[in-house]
Structure formats: C-alpha cells, structure tokens
Amino acid sequence: MISQIFLTPFSEFEFMRRALAAVIALALGGGPIGVFLMLRRMSLVGDAMAHAILPGAAVGFLLSGLNLFAMTTGGLVAGFAVALLAGLVSRSTGVKEDASLATFYLASLALGVTIVSVKGTNIDLLHVLFGNILAMDDPTLLLVAVNATITLLVLAVIYRPLVIESVDPLFLRTVSRAGAPAHLVFLALIVINLVSGFQALGTLLAVGLMILPAGIARFWSRDITPMICIAVASAIASGYIGLVLSFQTRIPSGPAIILVAAGLYLGSVLFGRIGGVVPQLFPRRHLEA
C-alpha cells in the first residue's frame, strides 16, 4: 500500500522519474544558493531577480523554444541589466537601492509577460509562469543537471570570499579584492538556478525551492555547513513528496512541491531545535555552565 503510493508512480512512469531527477538537481544547486541568499539578507532580492529575468528568458524561449541555454543567456542579460540599472539609478540619484530594484523588476516582469503573450500562446505564458516539471525532455533535464553542476563547482571556488564577505566585509577588503567579483558571480549563479527552476516551477515559484529550504535549515543548525546539507535534504524531500502528492491528487506539481516545503517550514518554526516555538515554550532545565 505504502510502496504503491510512494514508489509505483516512479517505477511505472518515465515522466515521473525524469521529474524526480530534475527536482534533485534543482535541490542540489538551489539549496546552497538559498542559504547564502538568506544569510546575506537577500531573500527578497532572489524573488525580485526571478521576476526581473523573465523578459530575457522569454526572448530566449521564443527564439529557440524550451532551450535552456538560450533561456539562461537571456536571463543572465536581463538579470544583470536590471541589477546594474537599479544600482546606477540609486547611486546617481540617491533613491534607495531596494526601491529602484522594485521599480525595475516590476517593469521587467511586465515586459516579459507582454513578450510572451504577444508572441507566444496562452499555453506558453502558463508554462513560463507556472512551469511544468512533468514535461522534462532529455535536453532540458541535461541542462538542469549541468546548471546544478556548474553551481556546485563555482560555489566551491567562491565559497571562502563569499562567507568572509557576509560576516566581515571590511576585513575581506583589507586582504583581497575578491569580494566584489565573488558577489557578481553569486548573482550569476542565482540567475542560472532561477532559469533551471523556471522549467519545473515557473517564474513565480522558482525561487521557492531556494528560499524555503534555507528557512527550514536555520531552525536546525547554527553552522553554515550543516545548514547547507539540511537545506539540500529538505529541498529533495519537498520535491519527492510534492511529486507524489501531485500524482495522487489533482494539485499541480509546482505548487505541490512548494506547499510541501512550506509545510516543512511550518513544522520547523514550531519544533525547530534552534528558536522553534515549542522548544521555547517548554525549555529544558538550564545547564551548569
């Protein structure tokens, strides 16, 4: 009975196996990125970026269909254009950076939706906005996996400056020039993971598989390394349970995955070892030293 619910969908249907592979790849790349987004207080920047890259990804999509390379390139161009324009405006006019970023990402989102709906079909628009993880073809799956691999390799290279820049930026600037390039590379990694996420979860939810697992992780660890592992594990768990849920019910796959992640988050808020509500209500006796 239990194996029928949890295993049969994957043993019987190839599209479910592909979806599971895709969601694992997304979790491996997005988990660590999400942890850094949270620790650098950029959670909402990730969300804004997801919307900002839509026109670029849409142009790539329309030029060459569901070609992840074209969509990634377009997304990178649009993402950096918005980030740079927002920075430029705030630096030259004194408008706060979050305000100008909000303006630019909304304009960018409107432009993206316009491009898709004028040039594409309604199905295209739905596909871009909500994704469809159950329709992973070979090239798409391969590129999601490539993006996850690139993310992990590049993150390993910039890990040290990224951590030091988050905790003590002045110190990093006194020993190295690596801080600013590391930040830019990190932004690029956000974009490629968002584009991967577009396939599975769509523009609106792509950032969800990064941010929610990171939020879960902070309730279970005080150190960044276990935090990243917990984030990846809970992202994989959300993806797996979400796919099962979507298979057995009529809930679409993207929302199902994010809803499961939200459920895990809620559980962590309540029962998390670090700062959870319930452990705070029933504190154990204090220690001797």
Partner: protein, 252 residues
C-alpha cells in the same frame, strides 16, 4: 629609524567632506602609536585610509616595503555580522588569507598555528562555538587571534579595548606589548588616557587635523586635549571648497 608609514598632506573623508584634514607626518618602523581624540575626530577614518578601505581625497599614504593589502586591521565589532553562522575556528582561520588565498587548503602546520592563536587569546575550548554565542570580550579576543595569524608587519587596531573587563584588557594589552617587542608597527585608536600614558610611548592627538604628535607625555597635556575638543566642529553641509592656501604651512 626608518618610516614605516608616511602621511603626505592626507585628507580623507566622505562625499568631499574631510574627516581627516591635511595630515602630514611619519610613523617609524616598530613604533607603538596611540591615536586619541574625541568621537568624530577621524580616528576610524584615518585607519580605513591606512588599510586601503578608503582612498584619500587628497595627498597620499606611503608604505615603503609593504605590498598592497598586507596591513592587519582589527575593525570595530559593530562592523561584523555576528548572527552569521560561522564557528570560532573558521573565523580565526580567515587570518591565514595571505597564505591560503581563495582556494588554498589549510594543512597540519596551519591548523597548529590556528590552535596556537586561539590558545594565546584564551579561547581554547571555544573552537566549535558559533561567533554569535560569544560575549563582547570574547569577540574581541577572537579578533585579536585573527590579527595574530595575519602575522603582519603593520597592525592597525580600531578601538580594541572598548567595554571590556580588566582581565581581558590586561591579556590583550600584553599581546600588543608582545607585538611591539617583536618589532611590529602598531597603531591603536584609544579613549582611555591612563592606558595610553602607561603603555603607549607615542601618541597622535587627532581632531580632524593633528593637534599634537610625538612622545605621549608631551602630547597629552590639558591644553592640547581642550584644543582637540574645540576643533571637532560638526560636519558642515554648506562648507566651501578647501583652497590650497588654507593649508597649514609647514617648513620645507
């Protein structure tokens, strides 16, 4: 004695407003120099200039024989994100940046050096604690451990002894004295005049401009301190451009 650090008519500031105004002078190699002055006198700004965080608006800071980014800097605790989940040992090990760079490994010798630095500042046993769980005094010990690992010829300490108990202060002062004995050049921004008189042979009294600079006993006089307090006027938004002839003239 050769100069380790020379200020050539240096002006440092933000948005064209000077926080350090036309400072000239030299710090000898191996000097132990206290930088004192009221709040807003430009002590932190001066240090940011020295370690290269801030480019001078005018003039230059010359550091003969030192490569770029080789001065050890102890920032104020407020500049550090203490909520970041990093352990004591990982934080201290960043002091080895010059040896490891972005991607270099940390070998057995480096591990030994890290353990030793942690032991010297008295944090042994705290290696795996998150920095968020440390008290203010322990946090300051942590920063000293990182400076220790940096093994730099010039060390710049921004208010290193703020708000700490007598024991911590004595331990860390001993470390500063040890650096001095090793021939390193040490600059420290301080507020405790008794400490400066007792432990720092040289003093720069700063109030945007140098009020006095030299042997501590000659600098820390009542008249000089009063003058420094008066000279620390507010940041004036309507201030005119500083003309070259306003420069305090100095004998060539």
């Amino acid at each position: 004695m050769t100069a380790q650090l020379t200020f050539e008519d240096v002006t440092l500031g933000y948005d064209r407003h000077p926080a350090v105004h036309h400072l000239s002078g030299a710090v000898d190699a191996g000097a132990l120099l206290a930088v004192v002055g009221p709040n807003g006198a430009g002590k932190s700004t001066l240090f940011r200039g020295v370690v290269g965080l801030l480019k001078p608006l005018a003039g230059r800071i010359v550091t003969p024989g030192l490569g770029p980014r080789t001065i050890a800097y102890l920032p104020q605790i407020a500049d550090i994100d203490r909520s970041f989940p990093i352990s004591v040992i990982d934080f201290v090990s960043t002091g080895l940046w010059r040896a490891t760079g972005i991607f270099g490994g940390i070998g057995a010798a480096a591990r030994k050096a890290i353990a030793q630095a942690i032991a010297v500042v008295g944090l042994t046993g705290f290696e795996n604690r998150g920095i968020g769980t440390l008290s203010g005094g322990q946090m300051q010990r942590l920063l000293f451990a990182r400076v220790l690992l940096q093994d730099a010829r010039v060390i710049v300490l921004d208010e290193p002894f703020n708000a700490m108990d007598a024991k911590t202060q004595a331990d860390l002062l001993a470390l500063v004295a040890h650096w001095h004995a090793e021939g390193r050049t040490v600059l420290a921004a301080l507020h405790d005049m008794e400490m400066v008189r007792a432990h720092f042979p040289q003093t720069l009294l700063l109030a945007r401009e140098a009020v006095a600079w030299g042997a501590t006993s000659e600098v820390l006089t009542a008249e000089n301190l009063l003058a420094a307090r008066r000279m620390c006027e507010a940041f004036d938004d309507t201030a005119g451009t500083c003309a070259p002839e306003h420069r305090p003239s100095r004998a060539a």
